[in-house]
């Protein structure tokens, strides 16, 4: 008895839903006929930017607003941030955000390269901003110069070996171990989240390539001293010495003592 009622109710709901869908489609088709000018001509957007707009309106609009003006307490304005910023945030998976927390974390990207390009094209139409570098080889720079610039400008937050470090209130400077050349380049150019901006007049493209060369060389270099312990410096090294080394010696002493 109950099953029959439920089935009937379900059928009724489905049919009403179907009717609504049909009506919506009809209105939509009617509207497109009534408004004959295509939106591409209206906005002056390229095909790629239009595809980007579609992605934007699906995924980004909630926090960044209909006209990229930003939403209070949700997300910043994207006007003038440039394609470099879009590349860094989307290609490293930081955007779209999984949740609002201290800062966006690197994760598996939601969009593939083509979709990132479309988004970049769309955002770039709003106020321009830093663009991706034209060069192919982003490691074409002086290694020693890169090291000096890295230690002055980057190492205080990202650690001398690029392992990252803590900031205030739960934020952190991420490790550079997984970063691609273009990730690092666009990060310097756009200053994502709490990272300061290093525009092309502060660190020239050649400076940037030198820094990338240095970082990637560090990433690829073996640790000649043995276990790197995260390359995080004397704190974890001291911890291992005390917890594993000294404790091991004490236990060995106890063991020898109990045996004699």
């Amino acid at each position: 008895m109950r099953d029959v009622t439920r089935l009937a109710r379900l059928r009724k709901r489905t049919s009403s839903g179907l009717a609504l869908a049909v009506a919506l489609v009809a209105v939509g088709i009617g509207y497109s006929f009534a408004a004959p000018s295509s939106s591409a001509q209206d906005t002056g957007l390229s095909v790629e930017a239009m595809a980007g707009q579609e992605i934007y309106e699906n995924s980004c609009i909630t926090c960044h607003g209909a006209n990229l003006q930003g939403v209070e307490e949700q997300g910043p304005s994207l006007i003038g941030v440039g394609e470099a910023s879009v590349y860094f945030q989307v290609a490293t998976g930081r955007m779209p955000l999984a949740q609002h927390e201290a800062q966006a974390q690197r994760k598996t990207p939601v969009y593939d390269d083509a979709e990132v390009n479309q988004l970049m094209a769309y955002i770039q139409t709003y106020g321009g901003g830093p663009e991706l570098p034209a060069e192919e080889d982003l490691r074409d720079g002086e290694l020693a110069e890169g090291g000096e610039l890295f230690r002055l400008n980057c190492a205080s937050c990202h650690n001398f070996a690029g392992s990252g470090g803590a900031l205030s209130s739960g934020k952190n400077a991420p490790s550079l171990n997984q970063s691609s050349d273009l990730d690092i380049y666009t990060a310097m150019l756009s200053g994502p989240q709490n990272m300061p901006v290093f525009g092309d007049n502060q660190l020239t493209p050649e400076n940037k390539r030198a820094i990338i060369n240095y970082v990637q060389t560090l990433n690829e270099t073996a640790d000649p001293g043995g276990l790197s312990i995260g390359r995080a410096g004397p704190v974890p090294e001291g911890l291992i010495i005390w917890v594993v080394g000294i404790a091991g010696c004490v236990i060995a002493c106890f063991w020898v003592g109990t045996r004699s």
Binding site: L143, S168, G199, T217, D223, G226
Partner: protein, 331 residues
Amino acid sequence: MSREDLVTLGGKMDGVEVIYSEQPVRPGSPAERRAERQVAAAFAGAGLSALAFMVIFVAWPWQVETPGGGYDLSALYTPLLGLMMGLALTLVGVGVVLWAKKLMPYEVTVQDRHEGASPEIERQTTAATLVAVGNATGIARRTLVKRSLGFGGLMLGLMAVFPLGGLIKKPGTALFETPWEPGMRLLTLGGLPIRPADMRPGALQTVFPPVEGGARSSDGVAMLIRLLPNQVDEFRPRPGQEDFHWNDFVAYSKICTHAGCPVSLYEQETARILCPCHQSQFVATDGARSIFGPATRSLPQLAVEVDADGYFVAKSDFIEPIGPAFWERST
């Protein structure tokens, strides 16, 4: 006397008596040969490990392939050296312990101990002898000798510590001043002057005074920060320093007022400057006021303006000593 008799006699003269003695293994037994082999294996292993250390030291590919070398045999160079040295030392210890436990006789011996103090007669005679020697030198009577000896000894001691005084230097005004002077351009590490248009909002530039070795002058180093547009409205300069910033640009000393570390962790969104050493935090929009951590004083602000050629220059030196506190510091 045989050797055993001499050993027994020596023990008796010292009041030592063996009350129990046992050989852990019967001489010539299979157990003894086995123990012997164990000890020998440990010592031989120690020798081989030491040998391996030297072979690795000479022959192992130690050179780090870079760049793009990845992990190759050279990454094992130092760990292998450590492993071999550790193994050699451990095996020497293992051999000695095994030798003592498995091959040496197990003995219990007792020795008589005398009373703590010497006998009365020895104490009195020794004291009398010491006093007699003292009287024979006449030190108490011969005042001239006594005083000159005291003088000589004192001066000799002073001579030993006197050169340390050369290490004490009067600091002068070094702690109160930095190389900055009015009109000096702010330079990057590469020695280039900076125009306002070079820095986008949220940018940080470490700047140095244009003096000989300026990029190595650790007390003059400062951070030139361009605030974000929304931070400009929040900016509250310290009293009396209202004209130290130039539009949305502020410059602060990079030396922490707690322990003198470089405070270059700048969070552009929160305008916080963090010190990596002890986690002090300063707010760039609030005159670099200290809001967290052990630092109590604000970072000194460098007054900046733009000269006729459009480059940033300092308006004066820091108006207060930079860095950590010191005795002569008044505030």
